[in-house]
């Protein structure tokens, strides 16, 4: 219980910091933010209205208070392009993004675990070297480029999957989002494969494996019950550490595959110079990462008692 409490307490400074960073985004705009955001054809009245709305005529600290006060009431400002509250806009676009994140995480594990097993069971054999070459090549692949090539190969040429879109219903989502989720998974897999292979090798050398072997535990059972169970924890940790990368990757991939999530909303809002929406999406992404990290830490504590005593 104290672990949970301490972990929640650590959340407070980070959460405040996240809001400060997002708040300061306005002040990074060169020149007068209102004029830059509204463009050169803006009337002085509109600029004055935006100044008042954002509280730009007040001192910095009071601006931040205003920002926080609105945030606490779920107000992320008004979208300049759509003319609706940014918070509602972002909320309505959240489900496809969450879908993509979960789907991609599942695919990343589904790709990585077998490959890591193939490599670790025959260390330094040809198949080990082949698997170890995967991260070297994979780390340098721009995710959006992989997405474009997958669309070309599997959607345009073979017609196995739709070129873009979110699909309808559970089956529709699974089918339509396969390529985007695979793209994110391919970006993530190199790291997971590398870590999983290393931790499997570690476990394979442990004394309890020797003991299990000498007791005559059959091969498959040995691997599933003794090796994989212990090796998977570090791999999940790696997935947890890189959750920011996983979530950030969806921004680009949603745009490539025209999935109506908050990543696509962010990129489109950048093209439309819709500043409040960009700001709001950045905040939501930050909160998402903080929450997922919290969830990951809490679930380790629940799964592995060693974590609770370690910290």
């Amino acid at each position: 219980m104290t672990f949970v409490f301490r972990r929640l307490l650590m959340l407070i400074p980070v959460a405040i910091g996240v809001t400060i960073v997002v708040f300061f985004m306005i002040h990074l705009i060169p020149g007068d933010p209102a004029r830059t955001v509204l463009g050169i054809h803006a009337t002085p009245q509109r600029i004055a209205i935006l100044h008042r709305q954002w509280g730009l005529d007040r001192p910095l600290v009071s601006q931040y208070w205003l920002f926080m006060d609105r945030l606490m009431h779920g107000n992320l400002g008004q979208s300049l392009y759509y003319g609706v509250p940014a918070a509602g806009l972002i909320l309505s676009r959240l489900p496809p993004t969450l879908w993509l994140i979960c789907y991609a995480a599942v695919l990343a594990v589904a790709v990585s675990v077998p490959l890591a097993m193939i490599a670790a069971t025959r260390k330094d054999a040809v198949r080990d070297h082949v698997v170890r070459a995967v991260p070297l090549v994979g780390l340098g692949m721009p995710p959006f480029w992989v997405g474009i090539l997958l669309v070309y190969a599997l959607a345009i040429h073979v017609h196995a999957f739709p070129v873009s879109g979110y699909g309808t219903g559970f089956g529709g989502h699974l089918h339509s989002m396969f390529l985007p989720a695979l793209t994110v998974a391919i970006a993530l897999a190199p790291v997971v494969i590398r870590s999983l292979r290393a931790s499997m090798l570690n476990v394979l050398g442990a004394e309890y494996i020797t003991t299990a072997k000498s007791k005559g535990v059959p091969g498959p059972r040995l691997f599933l019950r003794h090796v994989l169970r212990n090796a998977v924890i570090p791999a999940v940790t790696v997935l947890g550490i890189n959750i920011g990368f996983l979530i950030g990757g969806t921004v680009i991939i949603e745009f490539i595959f025209a999935i109506p999530g908050i990543g696509q909303l962010m990129i489109n809002s950048i093209f439309q110079r819709d500043f409040p929406v960009v700001q709001g999406v950045t905040l939501v992404f930050g909160v998402l990462v903080v929450l997922v990290n919290l969830l990951a830490d809490l679930s380790y504590a629940a799964l592995d008692p060693r974590v609770r005593f370690d910290r």
């Binding site: 070297l136 780390l139 480029w145 992989v146 669309v151 070309y152 345009i156 570690n202 960009v278 950045t282």
Partner: protein, 294 residues
């Protein structure tokens, strides 16, 4: 934060696995390091010698020769405005490599300094600096980079600022972790007992021993930075046209994917090869340095 990071135990496990006898630790006996250096050398040479390797100007348009297929004159064909793709590829590589390498210098220095201060002095300085790291890490890498460059306005200067603001945290974490361990070693205690100043201990005694980890990391950091630059270029937030950039080349070529696949494929492949060479160098350096430290 860095785009991709490994937890300490994994790196330690890999290091142990690669421990080798001393004689095998010359750089040219490390196949990974040697092949990575050779590959990167070829790429850098090709990019630097671009004007000698191709007679074409990468921004010179020739609408009469648009969208040509690969031929003896145009090795990779031409794009929709008749610019030679091979020339643009070489010059684009030049742009992205240069920005990618320069962009990690500042985060490297800032992260090393803050990491050493946090690790060496500990206490409240450490707490504050590490909370700062937590805050930056709370944002997804690409979200923060894209948002920052959008706010600052597209272009090289914004890329440098954004990468610096986000990238220093990884170096700070690595150096802090290494210093936490190293500062308990006898030689540091001896230096302290000898009355050396903290600055001198950090600079002359600690950093030379821990900086290798940051250098190894910087190899994969350059890869991630180049990926970020290419991604920004793809979204039109990177180096402004007509300067050739691999990201904007992929974006231009995308419209002709079904008929001229080479326009999209080769710029991406160039990034992959750069990434491969730097990853090989990083792995090779890790093999070279780590066993000697333990």
């Amino acid at each position: 934060m860095s785009a991709i990071s490994f937890p300490e135990p994994v790196l330690a496990a890999e290091a142990a696995e690669h421990a080798q006898p001393r004689g095998a630790r010359r750089w040219y006996r490390q196949p990974a390091l040697a092949s990575g250096l050779i590959l990167l050398g070829i790429i850098v040479l090709a990019a630097a010698a671009a004007p000698l390797l191709t007679p074409y100007n990468p921004i010179h348009q020739n609408l009469g020769a648009s969208l040509l297929g690969p031929s003896a004159q145009h090795w990779l064909g031409t794009d929709q405005t008749g610019r030679d793709t091979f020339a643009r590829l070489l010059y684009g590589l030049r742009t992205d490599l240069r920005i990618g390498i320069i962009a990690v210098l500042l985060p490297f220095c800032i992260g090393t300094v803050t990491g050493s201060i946090a690790g060496y002095f500990g206490g409240s300085v450490d707490t504050v600096l590490m909370r700062l790291v937590d805050i930056v890490v709370a944002f997804p890498f690409y979200v923060l980079i894209i948002a920052l460059v959008f706010v600052l306005g597209p272009g090289q200067r914004s890329i440098y600022i954004a990468i610096t603001l986000v990238g220093w945290v990884s170096y700070a974490r690595i150096i802090r972790g290494e210093i936490l361990v190293a500062k308990r070693q006898d030689y540091v205690l001896a230096a302290r007992g000898g009355g050396l100043s903290s600055v001198r201990i950090i600079r002359r005694h600690l950093l030379p021993n821990v900086i290798s980890q940051a250098i190894i990391y910087s190899m994969s950091d350059i890869v991630q930075t180049i990926l970020a630059i290419v991604t920004l270029g793809y979204f039109g937030l990177g180096v402004p046209p007509p300067t050739p950039d691999l990201g904007s080349m992929i974006n231009d070529g995308q419209n002709f994917l079904t008929t001229h696949w080479q326009l999209t494929t080769f710029p991406g492949l160039a990034v992959v090869v750069v990434g491969l060479s730097l990853s090989l160098i990083g792995d090779g350096l890790a093999d070279l340095i780590r066993p000697g430290q333990s």
